[in-house]
Amino acid sequence: MGLRTPPLGPVHEDAGATFTDFGGWEMPVEFDSIRTEHAAVRESVGKFDVSHMGEIVVSGPDATQLMQRLTTNDVTVLDPGESHYSAMTREDGVMLDDTMVYRLPTSVDDDFLFIPNAGHDEQMERRWRDHADGLDVTVDNRTAAYGLIALQGPDAKGLLAPETDLDLDAVPAFAIVEGTTAGVETLVATTGYTGERGYELLCPAEEIETVWDTLNCQPCGLGARDTLRLEMGFLLAGQDFHPDEEPRNPYEAGIGSVVELDTEFIGRDALEQIAVEGPDEKLTGLSLIDRGIPRDGYDVTTPDGTHLGTITSGTMSPTLGTPIALAYLPMEYRNAGTTLRVVVRDEPKKARVRATPFLDR
């Protein structure tokens, strides 16, 4: 099977981007340099093409019931135009994916939108259909029809405001509104994956180029997206959790707050048990004291060499200038300040447990 390409692929090529295979999509990883792109988002504004993310729309009288059954958070608390973070779990509580769930504004005919991670859209579409038996609900996978742009950074509002008919001052965080941006019908959400204020703009794939070009700022690739999210301790599906290779439940992954045990969802009973007993391990922030860069797959040990876990994500933090990482560690070793070792090319390097997010925002 060939790689899926985003509608903006040729535009990125003209801009001199380098590309990578991510979740079956050929996506820009770097336009100028990760450091430059990362700094643009932290200090001013940057734009990301995240059209590799899935879009699934769920509508009908029983849409709420289906969303409640298949996501861990309580969708009934969402009013039209609101969103929250959530997870999809198996019967045993292991996470299949994580997502934002949007209850669409009343101006839109549809009810819910959620955003499976790259390459997960077909699996999630199937899962939603498989559980729709007897329900009055439609499930529509619009991943190919939509393009998605993330505009992130302290100057995002100032850049977007003159290009849209929306009153951005009136849009709170975690909201979704419908408006016209650069003459294109867009759904504009005040969400993101960087820790900065910003917007995610959903528009028809064939018109995304108009919106992209109008938002004149630093284009950013998946490289900077990764360093930005890791500074915030945000999870990367497929790496910080994976149903086969890194099977983890939301409590272990540190997102227990999106598990609403008062609702009936797949995985609830297993998670209730884990909530009572407490997880044995939890995703933990580390920073290296010795010189070196922690990378996924590197071992974490005690100072005397006892194996404790494995790094799932690591990098040199461009903002902090220190090497940072995430690893699943036993509860007794994850107090902030605990001194451990990360094994880099057979050399144990001194590391300390740190609270996440690594960056205050």
Partner: protein, 127 residues
Amino acid sequence: MSFNVPDDLRYLDTHEWVRQDDDTATVGISDFAQDELGDVVFVELPDEGDELTAGTDFGVVESIKAVSDVYAPVSGTVTAVNDDLIDRPELLNEDPYGDGWLLELELADESELDGLLSPDEYSDQIA
């Protein structure tokens, strides 16, 4: 995109360069290599006095996104390493043929230089 390939250097197909000065040689990575790697954030180099063998790895250069071994273009004894790179690894991006040099060594066998790529040959390789 075109990359700087100074014509007074010899190159290894793994993107290291070597500059001969009598019986010593300076070693670094090429402009193409630093661009491929992106922002360099960490460099691990041998110690002075270490013996390097042509074609074997002697250190590591890490960018934000990648880890890359670096290989000795020629054999010899390390006489100096670029300590500035410890605090300023970005010198490798900014000036790969100047301030971003990696190490200096005393050549064990000058004739090894003849087996390396000429600037034209290396330019063809990265074209």
